[in-house]
Amino acid sequence: MIKRIKKELVIVGGGPAGMSAAVAAYERGLRDILILERDNALGGILRQCIHNGFGLHRFGEELTGPEYAHRYIEKVLEYKIPYMLETMVTGIDKNRILTAQNCKEGIFEIEAGAIILAMGCRERPKGALNIAGTRPSGVYTAGTAQKYVNMKGYMPGKRVVILGSGDIGLIMARRMTLEGAKVECVCELMPYSGGLARNIEQCLNDFDIPLFLSHTVIEIHGKERVTGVTIAKVDENRRPIMDTARFIECDTLLLSCGLIPENELTRSAGITIDRVTNGAVVDGSRETDVKGIFACGNVLHVHDLVDYVSEEAEICACGAVDFIRGQAKGEADINIRTDGKVRYTVPRKLTEIKDTTLYFRVSDIFRDVRLTVKSADRVILSKKKQKLAPGEMETVTISADVIREIKNGEITVSLEA
């Protein structure tokens, strides 16, 4: 017989989203909380993000990743919120029964009043990129290299090419340079960088590291170890232009080619996944379409700033606490559509008539456009935006009054000239 325990709120993942949710739930009076974390410490990915720039919104000061995590770890300890480390959740069903295991307890089940999914995301690996060539050592995802350098004290290589200009790739370009490596270049498939402008400045320009936009790695060379890569410019359809191909000698290739929300457990519970975000479809309280299961942080959609993860986790925790206390919602049932230029919104649904902030991303760089919300072809909200970029998450707040005006249970969020 598998041991089964009962908990009011179970949070899967002890990173910034999970901890923020736990602290917020506690502060709303909930006590029967359990955080399940597969690593040997709380903190999640922030533990290896030793650079500064975290917490400006939240704490009004610039913190490093471990310091930001520490603020929440201290709260978890102060409130004595229970957590289990080195504990892997292997399944969740739609009746909110979790199956988990660790060395001490073996396999066990938890019957949860509500569940918050906060499992974060993982990096897109080499296998998903279809790069031709040999399979030598020396190819790492940027986050793996970051863990080696910042937590283990190992240098993955000396001459580095980085594919992908997302923030982790940019941060690692600087980090490898500071530790004595030569970063030859950063190649970006798209005609714009996916990273923050300030990271291009302080991580690449400070060290004269070239950023080649509309470029990709078309071949990896080397038998035992990487000896170099062939890079080429790409055309507007992102196909390599072969006569621009050139060889760059290096011993290491770092991949910073996108993050994928880690939703295996979400799927096991039968929750609907949004095909754009690869995270669950949620309403304003971050509840999924399986009752009592909520999601927040990078498992829901990939964020650029941890400050917004904490904010989202708090919204999510409030929703979960309300659910546990049996507070009804659902005076509204509105689907949110997007025009493609706006790639997605979180939430995707509105179920409550109250001021709601939509978080969204766009598909390209847009200047001087109007972000428009329409209901039955009537504009109900229009906001001027000077510049929108795919790498930067944006927000727009819809007031309760505007939500009341919505007809036919549907709105469309779009960009207009």
């Binding site: 500064n52 490093t64 471990p66 350098v149 910042n150 402008a197 291009i200 400045e201 302080q202």
Partner: protein, 117 residues
Amino acid sequence: MKERNLTCIVCPKGCQIKVLFDGEGKIKEVLGYTCKRGEEYAITECTHPRRTVTTTMKTESGIVAVKTYGTVPKEDVFKVMDEINRTRITRDVKIGDVLIEDVAGTGVKVVATSEVQ
């Protein structure tokens, strides 16, 4: 008139700032910043640029994440890295502990930002 375009690194907004200089190369006007810190950054960047350094330090039982407590002159960044990499910590470390009082003659402290990993 001479001008210089900067990307502000103070916060994730990354404002585009333009600095205008007079004939003698002195700053005449700063445009495009959206906060006080951005204006200060632009002036510092055009006179004596400074950076915060974050890295790790070796201890007897593992490594610990550290940062310079405040910024150091940009041209001293590698000197700062060198001193941090040569220093070994032989005691227990808590977050916020000062590990180097004055790194590479910059007058800036180096403090721990994590526990020992």
